[in-house]
């Protein structure tokens, strides 16, 4: 009797873990089926090479490139902020700061990642954009710049915490060897420790990029809803995620081509982040245990 009960419990627990696999399968199947339907009406070549995205207008054009460029633009600005800041903080906390300082600063910085993103959107639109406009008069009310900057601040803890973990996993013997050769702290940090932790640092940056690509509310609030093939950060743009929000908020009838276009946009987004996540996972597997 006891044995049967044990087996049943194990089976239930196995089902619990299988739900995560079913989630992934569900996402892929749903995106694939609806996208397949979508491509019956829209040419796949037009979708990936077209430079105009106007599914909600009378003259519908389905070229995803403006949405991709908007997504990449805000992501690029965010990484431009988060990479140097996050990496410097990681090196400083690991090589210079004393334990008590680190114990206070690390959780404080992680508060940045806990704030709901709609709050950052509000902050970008009502605070950062007006400040930037007083320096740059040509800045649009909705723009990629302020959304990207705020997003960069938000992902600082992703870069700093994970890079710091990678740095502290480097064995102390390397550091001592560098000091023994007469290196200064700065030289040790940037010429020995950082290269030794490089795979972990790269993983943290890739995950931060993936996070920025999928970020929705900041760009939906502050970056605008004008799909535009441009890399000028002063313009109003539209990201893939914003487009999905825009359609979801509107009165688009289900099963229409406009409605299906969010699945095609979604699969593009999923593809981008899926590739990045797998690269980072592969790197972690391959390089992380080199010093053990």
């Amino acid at each position: 009797m006891q044995k049967v009960k044990e087996k049943i419990i194990e089976a239930i627990l196995l089902i619990c873990s299988s739900i995560t696999v079913l989630t992934t399968i569900g996402i892929i199947i749903i995106l694939a089926i609806e996208t397949f339907q979508f491509f019956k009406d829209v040419s796949i070549v037009e979708f990936f090479t077209g430079t105009e995205w106007t599914p909600l207008f009378a003259n519908k054009k389905f070229g995803i490139l403006p949405l991709v460029s908007g997504t990449l633009l805000t992501t690029f600005i965010a990484i431009l902020v988060a990479l140097p800041l996050g990496l410097t903080i990681a090196v400083y906390l690991n090589e210079y700061a004393d334990k008590r300082f680190k114990a206070v600063i690390k959780p404080l910085l992680e508060v940045l990642a806990a704030i709901p993103t709609v709050v950052y959107g509000f902050f970008a639109l009502t605070f950062i954009t007006p400040i930037l406009q007083s320096f740059i008069p040509s800045l649009a009310g909705f723009n990629a710049l302020s959304a990207g900057l705020v997003m960069g601040i938000m992902i600082i803890p992703y870069v700093s915490s994970m890079s710091e973990d990678a740095l502290s996993a480097v064995p102390n013997s390397l550091r001592e060897a560098a000091y023994g050769m007469g290196s200064t702290r700065l030289q040790t940090a940037f010429k020995v420790m950082l290269p030794a932790a490089s795979s972990g640092v790269i993983v943290s940056v890739i995950l931060a990029i993936s996070r920025a690509i999928g970020e929705t509310m900041i760009v939906a609030v502050a970056a605008g809803q004008e799909p535009r093939l441009t890399f000028n950060p002063l313009n109003s743009i539209e990201t893939i995620t914003t487009y999905i929000v825009q359609v979801s908020m509107g009165d688009v009838p289900q099963n229409s081509i406009e409605f299906r276009s969010i699945f095609a946009a979604g699969i593009t987004l999923f593809g981008l982040t899926f590739i990045l996540n797998n690269i980072s996972f592969w790197m972690k597997r391959k390089f992380v245990q080199r010093y053990e």
Binding site: C16, V111, P116, V119, L186
Partner: protein, 285 residues
């Protein structure tokens, strides 16, 4: 100037630069809080909390959004916690050398990186249309449950992993079965750390906006939800809606609602940190 002196200057310059970098994040955090509090604090009063939404910013309140949020988050808890803890226990206690468990592990790492809006698309199709739950509270809770599942699973695994093998062996030595050992020894011993993970999952669910918009949360709900099948709105969506309106009165409302939202998030996160510290101090095997 000799080389040693030059290096010392460089070293100090980096130190200053690093402190500036660290403070940039913290200063922005401070500005954000200051900005929101200075705009919204005076708007918060009892009427703001108990009023229904309105077209006039001075009369609008967050009552339906607050109740909607409590509904959605509570149901998300009830659905995701048993499944997440079960999955975490399975992966750590049963599936150690099993190739399927390895596969699940890779899969969870991947799911944690899927943008939240994609979960919204999954919820819209699977729960909203296939299971015909529409844009109900239940559809939203099921969607958020899938979203926070990786967080719960990873937290459970870490917690269970930290329980020393000697406790398990002692239990087996007394003739306990595997499940008896897990339910009476391992889970109680790891309860504190699991709870920390659960609270962080709740905090995530409280602030999540995009997937609920896709599932079909409404922006204007003139009644308080009464059953899980009712339509709903939540606080972050109310904030999004007010932020995108042109009248300045709604911006004030948005800031006030953000203060309430942040209070929830900070209390939850603070509680999680407190539990973690207390647990780390108390438990020494």
């Amino acid at each position: 100037m000799n080389n040693a002196r030059k290096n010392e200057i460089k070293d100090n310059a980096f130190k200053v630069f690093a402190l500036v970098c660290t403070s940039v994040g913290l200063i922005v955090l401070g500005l954000l809080l200051y900005n929101i509090i200075s705009v919204g604090l005076t708007r918060i009063n009892w009427d703001f909390i108990t009023n229904l939404p309105s077209r006039r910013p001075g009369k609008a309140g967050i009552y339906t959004a607050l109740l909607g949020m409590i509904w959605v988050v509570t149901l998300t808890l009830i659905i995701s916690f048993p499944i997440g803890i079960g999955a975490g226990v399975y992966l750590e206690e049963y599936g150690k050398k099993n190739p399927f468990a390895k596969f699940i592990e890779i899969n969870i790492a991947n799911l944690a990186g899927v943008p939240s809006i994609i979960y919204g698309i999954l919820g819209l199709e699977l729960f909203g249309r296939l299971l015909a739950l529409g844009n109900s509270i239940l559809a939203a809770s099921l969607t958020l449950s899938l979203l926070v599942l990786p967080i719960v699973i990873v937290a459970t695994r870490e917690a269970v992993k930290a329980v020393p093998g000697s406790l398990r062996e002692a239990s087996y030595g007394l003739g306990a079965t595997r499940w008896q050992t897990i339910s009476r020894i391992v889970l109680p011993a790891s309860f504190g750390s699991i709870l920390t993970g659960l609270i962080l999952a709740v905090s995530r669910a409280v602030g999540e906006t995009a997937p609920l918009i896709v599932v079909g949360a409404l922006v204007y709900v003139p009644f308080a939800p009464k059953t899980p099948m009712d339509q709903f709105t939540v606080l972050p969506i109310q904030i999004f809606n007010w932020t995108s309106r042109p009248q300045s009165g709604f911006v004030v409302n948005a800031a006030a609602a953000i203060i309430i939202l942040l209070m929830f998030v900070f209390i939850l996160n603070g509680f999680a940190v407190f539990l973690r510290n207390r647990h780390n101090r108390r438990v020494k095997y």
